[in-house]
């Protein structure tokens, strides 16, 4: 007999929302989380004089290890304009290959939402039917309408601020009014207006008014370094907090699940874990795997808990993005505000970019590119040295304007996760190995984004572009999806529409790995939460 009804592996957005929904339904939940707990009030450094040096406070075990496959050769004859570049440093990647930089993530209670920007997006309904309409990726086995009530639940629990006249069909208003754009964003918006591009306040998991005993945002722009006020709706201060309040949810941190064990009845029988006291076994009637789109397939593959389709680890999708940054003559003070206060959805539909399948979206990018502190300005923006440099720093009004476009990444056969054949972690478990290749279609989409970024900056009156970077010449990803895709059939998907494994009757997967397609630049966390809330109703 187990003390728990369900074991959840991972306390990121997927695990947290699952824990909340299942414990609210009366189930006794145990969350096993490999990383540590963060206390927003004491762990984040934004009120300390050397905050820029400290950045996000990664603690021991708060990042996983992984390796990379073969680097893709860059096709500069066609796409050299997409190379990452800075006016001071020149080309950032001087080789002829696409370099593997980083999979940005946090291990801990809250997972990667601890340093996320807080965008809370609903998917474009058509982006969920990419195979039917365009013959690419795979269809979601459920419709936007089926997911919509769970989006509402997630938005209400998190306290999402947004504009009700936005682009998606909604059955209920946002719980909070939208944030007003910063001064720099008002200037950037002029560029959109000139080009007849529409924009709307971004829907954000950032409180525009006090909500659920959390204060409103005070616009410090540093969300990616951890929000000490807890107004940013990371999973720890929202779903985990609510789950713990039920009295039926327990979290064990610093516990890495090493293996899932199975029985002859096509069920998971137990999990083997390692903590600072050694290795142990836990069991429960139900298991929810929510270790994220890279660790979830790793754990399944390492446990040899595959499926009949051979799809575990396949269809990996990363963040397709291009960012341009320029100086503007206006005294912008662009270190203030929110990282991404407004958004343009005009090209978000999968057929919105002329002659290119897959959509994209555009939003401001100054804070996400790191331009909130003096250190970045001194090295990436202001040229020179000596007295002139110091003078220029003192005269600067933080005049950077930035724009990012994020687009659909379509699955391809060369982009997947498998187990490294040589490198293991300290417990002897093979590391996840990331394979990533961009297709011609991805590069075309990227090129469209790059050109649009340039046009927007120009139209907004920016004077000198000083930096461009993209995932053309670097694997450098914040959103990862798709390595245990959901679908109707067991021969081409890993879980069904309710996130239950086709193969293992008591195993559910509730993280970004179930996405059959990435969407046209929508940020994934709200969809991960909505899927998990829906799953809990079908368990």
């Amino acid at each position: 007999m187990s003390d728990y009804d369900v074991i959840i592996i991972g306390a990121g957005m997927g695990g947290a929302a699952s824990a909340y929904a299942l414990s609210k339904r009366g189930l006794k939940v145990l969350i096993l989380e490999a990383g540590p707990t963060y206390n927003p009030a004491t762990d984040y450094h934004l009120n300390q004089p050397d905050w820029e040096k400290k950045r996000f406070p990664f603690k021991p075990n708060s990042q996983g290890k992984y390796t990379f496959g073969t680097e893709q050769v860059l096709d500069d004859t066609k796409w050299s304009k997409l190379r990452s570049w800075n006016h001071q440093l020149g080309l950032i990647n001087i080789t002829s290959k696409r370099k593997f930089a980083a999979y940005h993530h946090v291990r801990g209670v809250g997972g990667s939402t601890l340093h996320f920007t807080g965008e809370a997006h609903r998917l474009h309904p058509e982006a969920m039917q990419m195979y039917t309409h365009f013959g690419v990726a795979a269809d979601w086995p459920l419709t936007y309408a089926e997911l919509e009530p769970y989006y509402v639940q997630a938005e209400n629990l998190i306290g999402v601020a947004g504009d009700n006249s936005g682009v998606r069909q909604r059955s209920a208003p946002f719980p909070l009014p939208p944030h007003a754009p910063s001064y720099a964003e008002q200037i950037l918006a002029k560029g959109f207006n000139k080009l007849n591009l529409s924009w709307t306040p971004n829907s954000l998991a950032v409180l525009s008014k006090p909500y659920a005993n959390r204060p409103a945002c005070n616009y410090c722009a540093a969300c990616n370094l951890g929000c000490p006020r807890s107004d940013k709706g990371s999973a720890d201060v929202t779903f985990i907090h609510a789950a713990l309040q039920t009295g039926r949810c327990e979290i064990k941190t610093g516990v890495q699940v090493l293996r899932l064990e199975t029985d002859k009845n096509a069920k998971i029988s137990s999990v083997i874990i390692a903590d600072n006291k050694g290795q142990h076994k836990f069991n429960a009637p139900l298991y929810v795997l929510a270790a994220g789109a890279i660790e979830t397939p790793r754990l399944l593959l390492a446990s040899e808990v595959g499926d009949d389709s051979g799809q575990v680890g396949r269809n990996f999708m990363e963040t397709l993005f291009h960012t341009s940054l320029a100086l503007h003559p206006e005294p912008l003070g662009s270190h203030r505000g929110l990282p991404s206060g407004f958004i343009c959805w005009d090209y978000n539909a999968p057929d919105a970019i002329p002659n290119i399948i897959g959509g994209c979206r555009f939003s401001p990018a100054v804070a996400e590119a790191g331009f909130i502190g003096a250190g970045q300005y001194a090295t990436r923006v202001i040229s020179g040295w000596g007295r002139k440099h110091k003078q220029a720093m003192r005269q600067s009004c933080a005049n950077v304007l930035g724009i990012t476009g994020i687009g659909e990444f379509l699955p391809n056969k060369d982009t997947y996760i498998d187990l490294d054949t040589k490198q293991t972690d300290e417990h002897g478990i093979p590391l996840a190995r990331i394979h990533s290749q961009l297709t011609e279609l991805d590069k075309q989409r990227l090129s469209f984004i790059a050109n649009t970024n340039t046009a927007i900056l120009h139209a907004s009156g920016a004077e000198k572009t000083f930096e461009r970077y993209s995932n053309y010449d670097f694997f450098n990803t914040t959103h990862v999806f798709g390595t245990c895709r959901m679908g109707i059939k067991a021969d081409n998907s890993v879980v069904n529409a309710n996130l239950r494994s086709h193969r293992w009757q008591n195993l559910y997967i509730a993280d970004a790995s179930v996405f059959p397609s990435s969407g046209g630049g929508e940020s994934p966390s709200l969809t991960i939460a909505a899927l998990a809330l829906r799953m809990a109703e079908f368990i």
Binding site: L46, N47, Q48, P49, D50, W51, E52, K53, L89, G90, I94, A180, P181, S182, Y183, Q186, C217, N218, Y219, C220, A221, A222, L225, P228, R229, E330, P331, L332, G333, H335, R336, G337, I372, G373, A374, G375, Y377, A378, T379, W385, G386, R387, H389, K390, Q391, M393, R394, Q395, S396, C397, A398
Partner: protein, 166 residues
């Protein structure tokens, strides 16, 4: 001296530094003079004016310590210092530490304009990047800048308004 001419001569000078000489020199113990050159170089990159300079915040010392942790960086730093001194001697008949601001700036300009993968350029890029990063993450450096205030605890509730700094 005509700046252009000097640059041409400096370029010649840098190519004359033989790889063998460089390699041999890095196995020699670090001298006080090398450290003084480094100190002077960092001082020229971020001098004291109405706000503290890099030396006031001991950036030279911190970066030297950092270089000692990584042999590749230490080699770059020591080679860079050797190069600085050699160029100063060739062109001004003075050690780098004795140069005035204009003379030092001429050499720095040359370093920035030398080809990307050449020692002077790599040395400049490395030391400029690290010195600026370290210097500006110290709050004493930010006096009088738009970044004087930390992001929290009060945030920027005036974020919708035009920036009034300067």
């Amino acid at each position: 001296m005509n700046r252009r001419l000097l640059l041409q001569r400096l370029l010649g000078g840098s190519l004359l530094i033989s790889a063998g000489w460089m390699l041999k020199s890095i196995f020699l113990p670090v001298t006080n003079h090398e450290k003084l050159i480094w100190r002077s170089w960092i001082d020229h990159l971020i001098p004291t004016d109405q706000t503290p300079g890099a030396l006031d915040l001991e950036i030279d010392h911190k970066l030297w310590q950092e270089a000692e942790q990584d042999i590749a960086v230490l080699v770059l730093v020591r080679q860079g210092c050797s190069w600085l001194n050699q160029v100063a001697l060739q062109n001004y008949n003075l050690s780098f530490v004795e140069l005035n601001e204009t003379q030092a700036n001429t050499i720095i300009t040359f370093a920035t304009q030398s080809p990307f993968h050449y020692l002077p350029n790599r040395f400049f890029r490395y030391s400029h990047l690290r010195a600026m990063q370290l210097y500006y993450t110290d709050p004493r450096s930010r006096i009088g800048t738009v970044w004087e205030q930390t992001p929290q605890p009060i945030g920027f509730i005036n974020y919708q308004q035009r920036c009034t700094h300067v």
